[in-house]
Assembly symmetry: C2
């Protein structure tokens, strides 16, 4: 049995509950594939601020760097809304992305007929949606030069720089093209090339890479994409875009799917990947054992697939989740009369039984 | 009878048809308020490129500057998709915004029970939505310093600068606060202050101005706003945001409403305002007399209100539109069995009859 190291960052709010449920499933699924997992539990976010004064302690960073993958619950909450800007909980996320070189964020959004009822969209518009959003995660306006305050012509101003280089764009677009090959083969590259110089470079590089990869590529302006995600989410296969547009569009796509507690994400680079559900820390329901662990469990499946190269157990976890949902089991967030309400732990056990 | 000058820019595609219908109604409504309108018809966009080689001829700019207001149809179309970047049709729009100092874009989005059926959202989620998006229109990353291509460390890159000054933010937030006073009194300021320095300045200035104005203000991150517009559009009153976020969010909000052919916009500054429907030039249906003129007609109502300070005729036009739609008249884009299908011209005449 070969052994792999997983850093677990439970984080804040419901983070500890959902990562506990996912960890059990991850361990079991990996074992079936002949992988023995060794866990290191680390602090980040609010929990780390409380314990150490900073959101991303050096120990956590070191553990993440030496792990094969990182599984994260959620960070933040109103308790830390008033801490100094440079130690805010989300600095842990941005810090991990940069330190681990996690240049690609993968956000699959799938809407089965059974789950379409949860969408704010009409079922006929949303059923069958199956999008993979590939967001560039270590560049763009998030990490470009910025100025908090300066005075010019007697006026105070602040600025940020949206900046992209050819290799940065090439790398992420290539990943999107490769991902499309295992899917319906179509990539939509989203930019604002009618206004932004960085988008014109993005568009030029995206076209060249798609041609190299032999992938069907179309270009779409970000404002149009924000419309099409609501008008016709089914029309998309893979969407590739920059850091800021990806932040906005992936969250929009998530709510179009309707059940945010079910959605996973993977952030990958050349070293260990980071896997986390897309929902937040939900401090209002923390500690009650009612949080939905499925987003984290599906993130663990992505961890198996992308960081441990264990496709079969990844698919097995996904199928187990589908089966349990199809049987009508729901945590409180998705409960409706006629279905069976279960706790975080029960949901985990049901998925384990399926496995 | 006092006289006012209106520059009309029909533009491309269906632009000429919808502006013709709106012009008749504008003339009539103004006359009732004792205003005599004098029109100058001008070229812009693709039509101007074909005739003069540039999208925004000096004549047009001069006519716009000396007018009391500008009414525009739509510009662009596939025919001009391959012209050189610096003479693209949308340069006409950006050029007019900058030359006329149109720093505020107002985009009302209203969903009556009768029109909720057109929304991709479930009726119970969207019915009763009444949002005014106030977008900053002459600053931010649209007009900041940019670089198309440079080489650093042997790598080609391009960049744009998102930049906001205190007076720019103060001006637009103040306008949003004043607009909220005639509505439900609540302003949501949208930014990305957890990442962007310009957003942190924006947030600080917005808070100060709202306090001065005595307006209830809340702050929301742009990714969250993109979610809330789909999850709960009814929860918003006035949204104020920067140029880029406003571009994305106002288009998203428009499709949430479902009937893009009905939505108007106003771009205002200290001089003449520019009024245009939010839909595009729809070259596929141009010249057939079937385009929906309502977005342009409601833009004419905004022109009466904001540039001619003629509130009563503005409201009269809006009521006439509501009445005609309530009677079940629809252009082809919104036609459904059981309703009455009308042409562009017939729709105009019906609204005139109501007036
Ligand atoms: C917390 C924040 C900095 C982060 C981002 O904007 O990237 C979040 O919104 C996300 O999408 O993971
Ligand atoms: C045509 C384009 C430059 C423009 C913009 O981005 O502002 C358009 O999308 C709009 O919103 O009016």
């Amino acid at each position: 049995m070969s052994s792999k190291k997983i850093a677990i960052i439970p984080g804040d709010g419901i983070g500890p509950e959902v990562t506990a449920a996912a960890r059990e499933i991850l361990t079991l699924a990996a074992r079936k594939a002949g992988l023995d997992l060794e866990y290191a539990t680390c602090l980040a976010g609010g929990a780390a601020i409380d314990a150490t004064g900073v959101p991303l302690p050096d120990d956590t960073l070191a553990a993440a760097k030496t792990a094969d993958a990182v599984l994260l619950g959620a960070v933040g909450g109103p308790k830390w809304d008033t801490v100094a800007p440079d130690i805010r909980p989300e600095k842990a996320i941005l810090g991990l992305r940069k330190a681990l070189g996690l240049y690609a964020n993968l956000r699959p959004v799938k809407v089965s007929a059974a789950l379409a009822a949860y969408s704010p969209l009409k079922p006929e518009i949303v059923t069958g949606t199956d999008i993979l959003i590939v967001r560039e995660l270590t560049g763009g306006i998030y990490f470009g030069p910025k100025c908090e305050s300066e005075t010019a012509d007697g006026v105070e101003r602040a600025w940020d720089t949206e900046i992209y280089s050819v290799p940065e764009v090439a790398r992420i677009v290539r990943m999107a093209c490769k991902a499309a090959k295992g899917r319906r083969g179509r990539v939509t590259s989203v930019d604002k090339a009618n206004v932004l110089a960085s988008s014109r470079l993005w568009r030029r590089v995206a076209s060249a890479i798609a041609q190299e990869e032999g992938t069907e590529l179309s270009h779409m302006y970000v404002d149009n994409c924000a419309m099409q995600l609501v008008l016709g989410p089914k029309t998309f296969d893979v969407i590739v875009t920059g850091n800021l547009f990806g932040d906005i569009l992936s969250d929009e796509a998530a709510v179009v799917a309707g059940s945010i507690g079910l959605l996973p994400s993977a952030s990958i680079g050349d070293g260990p990947g980071l896997y986390e559900p897309i929902h937040g820390s939900a401090p209002d329901i923390a500690g009650q054992g009612i949080a939905n662990p499925v987003g984290t469990i599906l993130s663990a499946a992505m961890l198996l697939r992308h960081s441990l190269r264990a496709e079969a157990p990844a698919a097995a976890v996904e199928q187990a989740v589908d089966a349990v949902l199809a049987e009508g089991y729901r945590t409180a967030d998705l409960y409706r009369p006629g279905l069976t309400k279960v706790s975080t732990e029960e949901m985990g056990k049901l998925i384990i039984k399926q496995l």
